[in-house]
Symmetry: C2
């Protein structure tokens, strides 16, 4: 008995069990048409040899890889990572593997090599988990014709003929601002994310919409653009305090920027929530431990990942049945407000 190099093949198993490779194939695929004795004998050999069928060879002949391509960006941020986590869990459950690519920037122009790499490896579907920034979606129509690989897009504006899974950022922003009004705040400013992000635009529009409901004109001095970072939040609030002195509350585009806001407010002796109400967006785990704890709009990024996987697999499998895609083409998930101290001016009646 000596150590073999490499992995045992189906042929070796067949020889050792005294059957043909077909029969081994039938056993490993749990086909019914094998006699119990044969099956058992083959299985024994498989275990002895520690044989494992090659997924590569299978993919080649079946034209099916049970692999999904995932394209992400900004894994250094917690949002994309949580989404990815939802994707890994769902894929695992469904028996799919994941081929991961990370774009160097959110608006990387060179996406062709990414597609090629995934296509070359025969992925059955692609999850485009990159936020919509600027015109980084302009290639969609162009591209979806070229390749026939099913795709699902996350965090972008729903559009015709494309499967999209997103959070309702517009609704979330409305929730935030309405909550501030309910708490008796009158002058609500906004610190937006970078305006080339679709999500930042949506959140801003939600803020504007609720102001309009309250018959208030959103003024250009009532908001400032940030870049999602705490540093930009700090800078933004400095500006805003000057250019909008009546402001008594602020809806901030994400929790990180809200942290910067709270730091500056503390330095300037502005009490939160008494002098300044603050609401963030995302509900990062730390936000409950800001000082004071931050009211925010929770988005379930994990669930987005899960839904994306489930949807794309459904498309893949219905395509196989020759059914032409007949699915609803967008999933807009609702966020949930999480009320904490930073916006509670009124004692809540419980």
């Amino acid at each position: 008995m000596h150590l073999r190099a490499g992995r045992p093949t189906i042929k070796e198993v067949a020889t050792a069990a005294g059957v043909s490779t077909q029969t081994v194939s039938r056993v490993i695929n749990k086909r019914p048409d094998v006699s119990p004795e044969t099956r058992k004998r083959v299985q024994t050999v498989i275990e002895e040899l520690k044989y494992r069928p090659s997924a590569l060879a299978r993919s080649l002949i079946q034209q099916r890889s049970y692999t999904l391509g995932v394209v992400t960006a900004g894994l250094r941020f917690i949002g994309p990572s949580r989404t990815l986590s939802g994707i890994t869990k769902a894929a695992e459950e469904k028996g799919y593997s994941l081929l991961l690519k990370e774009l160097p920037q959110f608006d990387t122009a060179e996406i062709t090599p990414i597609f090629q790499a995934l296509h070359d490896r025969h992925v059955d579907g692609i999850i485009w988990a990159v936020a919509e920034v600027g015109d980084n979606r302009k290639w969609i129509n162009h591209h979806s014709l070229e390749t026939s690989i099913p795709m699902v897009y996350l965090a972008m504006e729903p559009r015709q003929d494309v499967l999209v899974v997103s959070i309702d950022n517009y609704l979330g922003a409305q929730m935030a601002v309405r909550h501030l009004f309910q708490q008796g705040y009158k002058h609500i400013g906004h610190i937006a994310g970078p305006m080339d992000w679709w999500e930042a635009q949506q959140r801003m529009k939600g803020w504007e919409a609720v102001l309009a409901e309250a018959k208030m004109q959103p003024d250009v001095h009532h908001w400032v653009e940030g870049n999602w970072s705490s540093a930009s939040g700090a800078q933004a609030i400095e500006k805003l305090l000057i250019q909008y002195p009546e402001m008594d509350a602020v809806f901030v585009g994400n929790d990180q920027m809200a942290l910067g806001v709270m730091q500056v407010a503390a330095q300037k002796g502005r009490r939160i929530p008494e002098d300044l109400g603050v609401v963030g967006f995302d509900d990062i785990p730390e936000s409950a431990f800001f000082f004071p704890p931050l009211t925010t709009i929770q988005q379930d990024q994990y669930r987005i990942g899960k839904v994306a996987v489930e949807q794309i697999i459904q498309i893949i499998e219905s395509n196989l049945d020759g059914l032409e895609s007949e699915h609803s083409n967008s999933f807009i998930l609702s966020p949930t407000p999480v009320v904490r101290q930073s916006s509670l001016r009124i004692k809540e009646v419980s």
Copy 2:
């Protein structure tokens, strides 16, 4: 002209160009032994047909997939995500693809299916990017015999015959505590991570070592165990303030827990850094915007990922040359202190 189903094959390219598949193969692999005219003709056909060689078929025959398996856990936390980001970047540069698996827990017992899935897909190497917790490494010796796939382990205790890439947590903790002594603090407590984590143990040992240098006995009342979360940090500091009343500084096992510490300190009117010096670990992006900004020990998780990829690829490629692995078997990267306000009791002489 009609739409073909599926992808064009090398055979179709060969026919269309009037050459053999072998010649096409030579062209796509940029072999020198093809006449300029033939090469050009073939290339034209390739572009017209939008032909792309199948990485699957190649992997099968070359016994080489140019794919790395990555096993991670806790992607909902920022640390593992940053490491993963380093891995994606480095892999991209080196021309490798990534097959991603996430364990449901850090100490998942059932790792065999993970290995099988990666092995089935012929990964050339595996990056085990799961922190060492409890005895979740006990399978190492057992397993590395079974499979001959090269592996690299992250965030674990270096050991013989295994390639490890880690941060020097012990050194980092020493840096933190020495810094506090330099700032004139005398009674330094510790809030540890969960003690079944190797990294938490190392950080605690670093704290103990510096206390010992200063001829101080680390007492059981001078530290409390947390679980990395801000909530546990908040609880821990409450306890510590009671059981160690002389304490004037605390070294906290990570930045999240330090956030909880600062929240409680603020509530109790303990001024930071005057009454209580605080140092964290990790340098998460938010820590610069805590109130006050947090002194912490930075670990470059991104770089860990990068080094891991580079090392495993080196092993893969030297194995191919038949060289038996003759590498140093651990990389211990040094962390960097980042001094901010939370520990600055003395005006720094610049």
